[in-house]
Symmetry: C2
Subunit: 347 residues, 2 copies
DNA sequence: AAGACTTCCGAAACCGTTTTCTGAAACGGG
DNA sequence: CCCGTTTCAGAAAACGGTTTCGGAAGTCTT
């Protein structure tokens, strides 16, 4: 009996009017029970609900959005979808967003301003309730171009900006460095060298300040002759480590500002025949996935990427809910993950 | 003069009626010129356009979607947002989607069926035009749960399924293995061992068939005693390599079915004092980011992740446009990237 | 018993587009 | 000069929900 239309449970979309008709009430009433609005009797509630799920009714959120002008939708624009830190942060925001019933649009700008702007316009047109600008880079981007945000809340993730009234969430580089340096000092290391990233990064500056602070507090002297700055990559770490170890009084610990640098340094130490951690302790930064697979496994300070993503999502959702938008800078604390390259194992 | 409303170029949303009023025409006409519909004079076209961008008019795509019941929106559900292969595939689909004016919703199911289902329902409610189910795992997922797709097109990415009328795109594991094995054979290797992944993976089976095929074609005999199966991880590669090299007649080449396995094997060979590539050639699979940083840099067969993503996006968009949906399985070809672990350098 | 609330429900307007459908004007052919 | 066509423009009806508003009934006060 294919002609019977009763057999198919739904197929073409069933509207609020359909369930109203079946329940013998008005569309308005159906709307009210679907939204748990007051002033509808328990009896009709039951009737309507029964009708609704007999018809397998699912409210059309497009229609709802049109009326309410809220879409329960976020935009996420990243400048490097394939960046090594990107996906963990994305996981954080996706997690809190979907937990609160929001969906997130994914946009990749490839670091191109025009593309970013285009994405943003589409997002605005699609009436997202807020957007997160996520940078896969560490570069501090001062004076970002004024974006055509349609008056919706924005938060910058892993990115600084000078724009007024936007929130930023970044890792607490200073605190992270303190953690690492204190660890080294606590293990008895006294000549602590640092192999830093490029000088123009905000992160490197703050991390360096962090080790200085921690060392001062621990009573070990900081030797400025023991710091090298270079690139974030392995080769840079390799060269710097060789250089440092050829000093008349070589260091007994290497604080590397990235895990990549650390594996480079590890290679140099290996080539030089110096033992890690017996002769020199080695610590990295970032907690990249390969850190655990080094020999010895790398002690490192972890970037709180997922937490940063979660915080960004929470801030944005709160702004959406409450309308506020103070220009706060949130530094989320790093975490020390100790493995074996410093000579101490977990308690 | 704050009371003047003329100063602010837009602020509260300007609708099609506003520009109609300013242009002195009806809303219908404005709609027509915005969509380049025929039967409107060039003169009014100009007038309307002028009014539109004087008012900075941006059409409300929610309203449009409501009427048209097409949202220019895709859903992408991944079971492992942080998976090592996920983001490259995502980049591919984002690329083609946004190039064609589509936005993509990002959903992370954590491999949890209930969560996947929940996401899917939200996507359906949000009236996405199609969805991509992206698996970060290699596991073949036969008989996936029948999902409540609301009659919209779906494509499975990096994932097999038995469901009717859905498209799948996966890498051509067989062809990739042929590439690698032929490379080894062409370099004169005769005793080629393979360190495989778990036996229950479709990928491992096909890859093994690939090397057998290539070897047969190259006239080098395939020794079944020279294959080991294990996990995808380094430790597995390490153990297998040691085992293989302790044979009375050890192999002169190791075909590792993942780059992780290969670096494990590389470690074993190093510990054993056998030289790579002089004594034994080593080839990996996947082209992971760390492959290039090995010593020697790893020759490997690259998974065509971005291309797979692009293809999935193209297929889906085509289905959306044309309504078709044949259940095709697309195997996209892998690519050999030769570095130094096999003794041949690039031409 | 009359008035003041309170509860319950539905008619209708609305959100901002698109799309008929109708009609007027211009045009062209015989 | 009259009668098809064709071009152009607008009124109005959707699309599928939410919300205001008013009316009807019921419940408490005095």
């Amino acid at each position: 009996m294919p002609p019977k239309d009763k057999a198919s449970p739904s197929s073409a979309s069933v509207t609020i009017r359909d369930v109203a008709r079946l329940a013998g009430v008005s569309p308005a009433t159906v709307s009210k029970v679907m939204n748990n609005a007051p002033y509808v009797s328990e009896e009709t509630r039951q009737t309507v609900r029964a009708a609704a799920d007999k018809l397998n009714f699912r409210p059309n959120s497009i229609a709802r959005s049109l009326k309410m002008s809220r879409t329960a939708t976020l935009g996420l624009i990243t400048d490097d979808l394939e960046g090594v830190f990107t996906m963990s942060m994305m996981r954080g925001v996706e997690e809190v967003a979907s937990a609160q019933g929001f969906s997130v649009f994914l946009c990749n700008s490839y670091g191109d301003v025009a593309r970013e702007r285009a994405h943003l316009e589409v997002l605005i047109d699609k009436k997202v309730d807020g957007v997160i600008l996520l940078s896969g880079y560490r570069v501090r981007q001062r004076g970002a171009p004024a974006l055509p945000l349609g008056g919706i809340p924005v938060v910058y993730l892993y990115q600084y900006t000078d724009e007024a009234a936007v929130r930023c969430v970044v890792p607490d580089d200073f605190g992270g460095a303190v953690l690492g340096a204190a660890h080294l000092a606590g293990l008895g290391r006294r000549r602590i060298a640092v192999i830093n990233g490029p000088a123009h990064y905000e992160a490197t500056r703050r991390r360096l300040e962090g080790v200085q602070d921690a060392l001062a507090r621990a009573g070990v002297s900081f030797d400025a002759a023991l710091v090298r700055a270079g690139k974030w990559y392995e080769s840079s770490g390799y060269a710097a480590a060789r250089d440092l170890m050829s000093l008349p009084a070589p260091p007994d610990a290497l604080f590397c500002m990235s895990d990549s640098i650390a594996v480079g340094a590890l290679g140099a130490l290996h080539d030089l025949g110096v033992r890690v951690p017996q002769d020199v302790a080695l610590i990295g930064f970032d907690n990249r996935s390969f850190a655990v697979h080094q020999r010895p496994p790398l002690t490192t300070v972890a970037l709180p990427l997922v937490q940063m993503g979660r915080l960004a999502g929470d801030l944005l959702l709160r702004d959406i809910r409450e309308g506020g938008s103070a220009a706060e800078l949130h530094r989320v604390p790093c975490e020390l993950v100790v493995r074996q390259s410093c000579g101490a194992s977990r308690a």
